[in-house]
C-alpha cells in the first residue's frame, strides 16, 4: 500500500518544486508524402500531421488530469524536410514551412520541429534549398522550428555548411530584428544530432524511426535542487546518490506518461528523454543546483565539474528507471531560460568561454545565448565550428542556438517571452577568424571514428 509519506513527497514535487512532464512529442514520418507538385506535397503534409496528431493535445490534457502532473508542452517532430522536399525541384521550401505551421495551429501544439537538413558530410541540392529557406521560413511562421546537422563523429564537420549557417543565422536575426531576432531562437545547428529528441528547437523524426512514435521529455531541476538541500555539506558520494534517486523517480513518472500516451493515441512509444530542462521560473533552474552544490554562482571555478556530476548522476538514475532512454538525456544549460544563469551572465560570472567548457560535459551545447547584433557571420561560424569540434571529438551531441540580437550591444538585454525567457547580451571574443572559416571544405572524420 502506498504510504502517506510517498504521496506527500510526489505531490510536493509537483506543487512546490515544479516537477512536470516537459513535453510529449509525436514524431511523424513524412517520407512517403514526397511528390513533384509543391501544392500537393503541402496538402499531403498538412493532412498527415492533422490526422496523426488530431488527439495529441487532448490526450496530454487527460493524462495530466488523471495523474495530477502538469504536461507543459505537446509538440510534433517530422522527417527532415530537405528529404521530403527534394522531389519538387522547388527553389524555396517556405511553402512547406507554412503548411507545417498551419498543421501545428490546427492541432494546437506550440512547436513543430523538422524544418531540417542533415548535411554532416555534404549538402545535396535539396539541403541547400532548405538552408537558404530558413531565414524566411522562421520569419513568416510562428511555430516552426528548424535544425541543421553539420557534423558527426563518423564523418567530420561540413565546414562549407558551417560557413553558410553563420550567414543564415545573421539573415534570420535581421529578418526578425523587429521581434528580438526571435527567428534565431527557433533554429539550432547540431553535431551528432539524435533522431529521437523530443525537445525543441532541435526535434526531428529520424529516418530510422517508425511511421509515428511518442517521445517524452521529463524535467525537474527544481526537484533535484530541493533534494540536494537534504545533503548540504555532505561529500560527493552522498550528493551523487541523492541526484540519482531523484532522477529515478522523475523518469518513472515520465515513462508512465509516455506509455499511457502511446496506448491512448495508438502510436508506439519511442523513448524517454531524461533531460533536466530549466524554465525562467524561480525554483526551476539548473544554475540554482550549482549554487546548492556550493558554488557562489554559475560560472565560478568548479562549475564544469558540478555539471559533469549532475549530468552523469541524472543518467545513472534515469537508465535504471526506464529501459527506453534516448534523445539528448542530460542537463540543458540555456541561458535565457534559466533565471539564475541570466543573473550569472549579467554580473559577468558566466562567460561564453565557460559555457563552451561546460558543453563538454552536458547534454547539448551553447543554448539560447544572445550576442551583439553586429557580430560578424564568420565569428558566428567560428563559434559553431568550436562547438561542433567538441561534439565530433568527444562522440557526443553538441548544438548551438545563438541569437545575434539586432541593434543590441553588450550590457543590454533581449526579451523573447514565454518559455524562451530573456537574455543579457554576452560579449564575444573580438579577434577574427575570417580566413579560417573561408577555407571551406570538410574537417575529416577524427581518428577514433575508425572503429570497424
Amino acid at each position: 500500500m502506498i504510504s502517506r509519506y510517498e504521496v506527500q513527497e510526489t505531490n510536493k514535487m509537483i506543487r512546490e518544486e515544479n516537477l512536470d512532464i516537459r513535453t510529449i512529442t509525436m514524431g511523424i514520418n513524412l517520407l512517403d508524402c514526397a511528390c513533384e507538385d509543391m501544392n500537393k506535397l503541402c496538402d499531403k503534409i498538412y493532412d498527415r500531421i492533422t490526422f496523426r496528431a488530431e488527439k495529441l493535445v487532448e490526450t496530454g490534457e487527460i493524462i495530466s488530469k488523471k495523474y495530477g502532473i502538469p504536461i507543459v508542452n505537446k509538440r510534433i517532430s517530422v522527417t527532415p524536410i530537405a528529404l521530403v522536399g527534394g522531389a519538387t525541384g522547388a527553389s524555396s521550401y517556405v511553402p512547406i514551412a507554412k503548411a507545417l505551421d498551419r498543421a501545428a495551429q490546427t492541432v494546437g501544439v506550440n512547436f513543430i520541429g523538422g524544418f531540417s537538413a542533415l548535411v554532416h558530410k555534404g549538402c545535396s541540392n535539396a539541403d541547400n534549398v532548405l538552408i537558404e529557406s530558413i531565414p524566411e521560413a522562421l520569419d513568416v511562421t510562428q511555430n516552426v522550428c528548424s535544425s541543421v546537422n553539420v557534423g558527426s563523429t563518423r564523418t567530420g564537420i561540413n565546414m562549407d555548411a558551417v560557413k553558410r549557417i553563420g550567414e543564415i543565422i545573421k539573415l534570420t536575426a535581421e529578418r526578425t530584428g523587429d521581434r528580438s531576432s526571435i527567428g534565431c531562437a527557433k533554429f539550432v545547428v547540431f553535431c551528432n544530432a539524435p533522431e529521437d529528441n523530443p525537445f525543441m528547437a532541435g526535434a526531428f523524426h529520424g529516418v530510422g524511426e517508425k511511421d509515428a512514435v511518442i517521445n517524452v521529455g521529463v524535467s525537474g531541476p527544481g526537484v533535484v535542487k530541493k533534494a540536494l538541500e537534504d545533503v548540504r555539506g555532505k561529500d560527493f558520494e552522498a550528493l551523487c546518490e541523492q541526484v540519482k534517486r531523484t532522477a529515478f523517480k522523475i523518469t518513472r513518472a515520465g515513462q508512465m506518461v509516455a506509455r499511457e500516451a502511446s496506448a491512448m493515441l495508438d502510436v508506439p512509444f519511442g523513448i524517454i528523454d531524461l533531460s533536466l530542462a530549466p524554465t525562467p521560473a524561480v525554483g526551476d533552474s539548473i544554475a540554482e543546483i550549482f549554487e546548492e552544490m556550493g558554488l557562489e554562482s554559475a560560472g565560478a571555478p568548479g562549475t564544469t565539474a558540478a555539471l559533469a556530476i549532475l549530468n552523469d548522476s541524472v543518467k545513472k538514475g534515469g537508465v535504471m528507471a526506464s529501459s527506453c532512454v534516448g534523445g539528448l538525456s542530460g542537463a540543458f544549460i540555456p541561458v535565457s531560460e534559466d533565471h539564475a544563469m541570466i543573473r550569472a551572465a549579467e554580473k559577468g560570472a558566466l562567460t561564453l568561454e565557460k559555457l563552451e567548457a561546460m558543453t563538454c560535459v552536458c547534454s547539448v551545447g551553447l543554448d539560447m545565448i544572445a550576442i551583439p547584433g553586429d557580430t560578424s557571420a564568420a565569428t558566428i561560424s567560428g563559434i559553431i565550428a568550436d562547438e561542433m569540434a567538441i561534439g565530433m571529438i568527444n562522440a557526443k551531441t553538441t548544438a548551438v542556438r545563438i541569437i545575434p540580437a539586432i541593434g543590441k550591444k553588450v550590457g543590454e538585454s533581449v526579451e523573447f517571452g514565454g518559455l524562451l525567457g530573456y537574455a543579457p547580451i554576452m560579449p564575444v571574443n573580438p579577434y577574427q577568424c575570417v580566413d579560417f572559416i573561408n577555407r571551406g571544405g570538410r574537417i575529416p572524420a577524427p581518428i577514433h571514428s575508425f572503429k570497424n
Binding site: I2, R4, T10, N11, Y67, G68, K249, R252, A253, M256
Partner: protein, 89 residues
C-alpha cells in the same frame, strides 16, 4: 482502479462528511483513510476504489476539485499508478 485523494486546507466542520457523501454518491469505495490536523491545518489522504463508479475518471477529478473550492480546501484525486511508478520498482 485505485485513486488517491488528498485534502489539504484550513480545518472546519464537515470536510470529511462532504467528501464521503460525494464518494458515496459516485459509488466510490473508501479503502483507507488517514487524517491529521497540524496547527489548524487539515490534512487527509484516502485510498479509494473506483471500480464500481459509472463515471469517467477525469470528470470525477474535475468535480471533486470543484467540491474542494466550495468547501474552501484543496482536494485532488490522482490515479494510484503515479505513486506506484515513482516509489516502487
Amino acid at each position: 482502479m485505485k485513486g488517491i485523494i488528498t485534502v489539504v486546507g484550513k480545518d472546519k466542520v464537515g470536510i470529511i462528511a462532504k467528501v464521503c457523501t460525494f464518494l458515496s454518491e459516485e459509488n466510490i469505495n473508501i479503502l483507507d483513510i488517514s487524517q491529521t490536523i497540524v496547527q489548524g491545518y487539515f490534512n487527509m489522504m484516502m485510498i479509494v476504489d473506483l471500480g464500481s463508479t459509472q463515471n469517467n475518471f477525469v470528470d470525477i477529478v474535475d468535480r471533486i476539485s470543484k467540491l474542494g473550492q466550495e468547501i474552501g480546501v484543496d482536494i485532488r484525486l490522482q490515479h494510484q499508478d503515479i505513486f506506484d511508478n515513482m516509489h516502487r520498482i
